[in-house]
């Protein structure tokens, strides 16, 4: 276990290696949020209304959706596929060191840094615009945190599924792009799903943005346990797919390069 903790620690050090990047990326998070503030303020100033959402409701939703967007491992770690394609995987296979767990560790290490920095940027912003923000109660916060944690693993595993396609396709970057952008729409990062006008209850993506954001807002009523069960079920199916693709993929691995 300590080997994966050390890998995570190294990833934290790597993230702090370029301090300006860290600061610049996190500050960049404010731009879309500011854009949303002005857009929705304008939309609501004429007495308009977007679905069932109040101005504060929409601001709060996008606050959480953006936080999740910058924290969940969605687009990241294309180098996992690159290592499979280019033969870098070989250097993991010859060691008593799991390639998959290595990525879990470094993604977790990266998340720790990014989530902290993002919060450090978002909290003062939220305080400036506090009048628009719906603060979660303790129960809502805990439920939101729980859905975020499971959603985190779901995003991680779905990302692994896409990256492991490199065993079969060579380069799955097109799929990764399709998945990343598609998931932002189908997950509720671009528009809250209840504003889309068609139901997406049968897909796992809503557990990445929509459900956790709604949970933080205290708007999940009724069958929370049922939703948690469904969330865990999707994560388990994804885990099964990851293990299947990995096991079969290793037999197809061609170990190009040196």
């Amino acid at each position: 276990m300590t080997k994966y903790l050390t890998a995570a620690k190294n990833e934290i050090k790597l993230n702090f290696r370029y301090r300006f990047n860290l600061l610049a990326f996190s500050t960049g998070l404010l731009f879309p949020l500011l854009g949303y503030v002005f857009l929705w303020k304008t939309a609501y100033s004429g007495g308009g209304r977007v679905g069932e959402y109040s101005l504060n409701g929409l601001f709060t939703y996008y606050f959480w959706a953006l936080f999740l967007d910058y924290t969940l491992p969605v687009f990241a770690y294309g180098d996992m596929a690159w290592n499979i394609k280019s033969g870098g995987l070989t250097l993991f296979l010859v060691r008593p060191f799991s390639f998959l767990f290595y990525y879990v560790s470094i993604i977790a290490g990266g998340t720790l840094v990014w989530a902290t920095v993002n919060l450090a940027v978002l909290v003062p912003f939220g305080m400036v615009f506090a009048r628009y923000f719906i603060f979660p109660g303790l129960t809502d916060f805990l439920v939101g945190f729980l859905f975020t944690a499971i959603g985190y693993f779901l995003a991680l595993l779905l990302g692994f599924v896409i990256n492991l396609l490199a065993f079969y396709l060579g380069d799955p970057s097109g799929f990764r792009g399709l998945y990343g952008w598609g998931m932002m729409l189908l997950g509720g990062s671009i528009i809250p799903l209840d504003l889309l006008g068609f139901p997406l209850d049968r897909l796992p993506f809503r557990f990445l943005y929509f459900i956790p954001a709604k949970a933080f807002m205290g708007e999940i009523r009724g069958d929370i346990l049922g939703l948690l069960f469904e969330d865990v079920l999707w994560a388990s199916i994804s885990l099964f797919l990851v293990l299947l693709l990995w096991k079969r993929g290793l037999r197809k691995y061609e170990a190009y390069g040196g």
């Binding site: 050390t6 290696r17 993991f92 008593p96 691995y253 040196g258």
Partner: protein, 338 residues
């Protein structure tokens, strides 16, 4: 006691084939064509513990494929492989703890800690192999002194030159003191001085640790540096397995001299092959200085290089000369091993 035993090993794979030019790319986009490559054909040999064995062969001979099968990365199509008593593809922890696979083209540190200094990577290696702290310090000191990299291990990896990176990567590859060391073109891209130093290091490691070393190279000149025993692979077949002294008798006693002229080579050159502004000739080693003296009188020369003859020529020579025939086999039927 055998460290490695390989019997009738075969491995082939499909390679994409794309036509040239825009139409070739367009055709390839709609319809893929593949070619079957036989990377290894009926290869059999065994290596005893503590041996240092060189595997040489031209590019595409199957050397890297062989090392990757021995390290458990690739699955063979047929045949049997036993390494340190394990079946490599099962990748059991104890097996992985006992081997290392090192390639001069890229290293584990480059993949994992590119922006950090090597010591951070060594710490990760320590935990991967569960090396106790005091033992780790002792081993690190031993390897760092042997490879003379004390000044490098606290500098970010990306700031090191290729030669320096190769050395710090080697420390990472050997920190767990493996019993079997698989080295794939370890000196590729290094200058002669660094190459010499690494060869000395490999010999010392082999002697001091009684480790089995398998080293690939596509330079015939490396035969001088490799261990007593040499395997020659060519197009997936094992052509030679034996003492390098026996092989040396079969090697061409020639060098390939390439002379580049400012414009075209003078017509007075006799016995040279002319390719554009370059003249080429295979010259006997004993005649090399005479030949160079003659040609160097021409003041339109801008470059002279002296190389080993192409590997294909060497292989042909091995077969056409009689001296090593008793040690050469075609891979399907093994003869005496030295």
């Amino acid at each position: 006691m055998y460290s490695i035993k390989v019997e009738k090993l075969c491995k082939s794979y499909r390679k994409e084939e794309k036509g040239q030019g825009r139409f070739g790319s367009l055709r390839f986009f709609f319809r893929r064509k593949y070619r079957e490559i036989h990377a290894l054909r009926d290869v059999s040999f065994s290596i005893e513990r503590g041996e240092m064995v060189g595997i040489i062969g031209p590019n595409g001979a199957g050397k890297t494929t062989l090392l990757k099968i021995l390290s458990g990365v690739l699955y063979p199509d047929s045949g049997s492989v036993s390494v340190l008593g394990y079946i490599p593809t099962r990748r059991e922890k104890e097996f992985l703890r006992s081997i290392t696979y090192f390639t001069g083209q890229r290293g584990f540190l480059s993949l994992t800690i590119w922006d950090l200094p090597p010591v951070d990577g060594y710490e990760l290696i320590r935990h991967i192999y569960g090396i106790p702290e005091s033992e780790y310090r002792r081993r690190l000191k031993y390897l760092v002194e042997l490879l003379d990299v004390e000044d490098l291990i606290r500098t970010p990896l990306r700031k090191l030159s290729l030669g320096e990176r190769t050395k710090v990567e080697l420390v990472a590859a050997l920190l767990h003191f493996p019993d079997l060391v698989l080295l794939d073109e370890p000196t590729i891209g290094l200058d002669i001085v660094s190459q010499k130093r690494l060869w000395e290091f490999f010999r010392l490691y082999n002697e001091e640790r009684r480790a089995t070393l398998l080293i690939t190279s596509h330079y015939t000149r490396d035969i001088e540096e490799l261990g007593k025993r040499v395997l020659i692979l060519h197009r997936g077949r094992l052509l030679f397995d034996g003492d390098k002294k026996g092989l040396a008798k079969g090697l061409p006693d020639r060098k390939l001299v390439k002379v580049v002229f400012r414009s075209s080579p003078p017509p007075s050159l006799r016995g040279w092959r002319i390719e554009g502004d370059t003249a080429l000739k295979q010259v006997k080693k004993s005649r090399l200085s005479d030949e160079l003296r003659l040609i160097s009188l021409d003041d339109s020369i801008i470059d002279i290089t002296i190389e080993d003859p192409p590997f294909e020529d060497v292989i042909r020579e091995i077969f056409t000369r009689g001296e090593v025939n008793d040690e050469v086999f075609d891979g399907s039927e093994k003869r005496d091993q030295t």
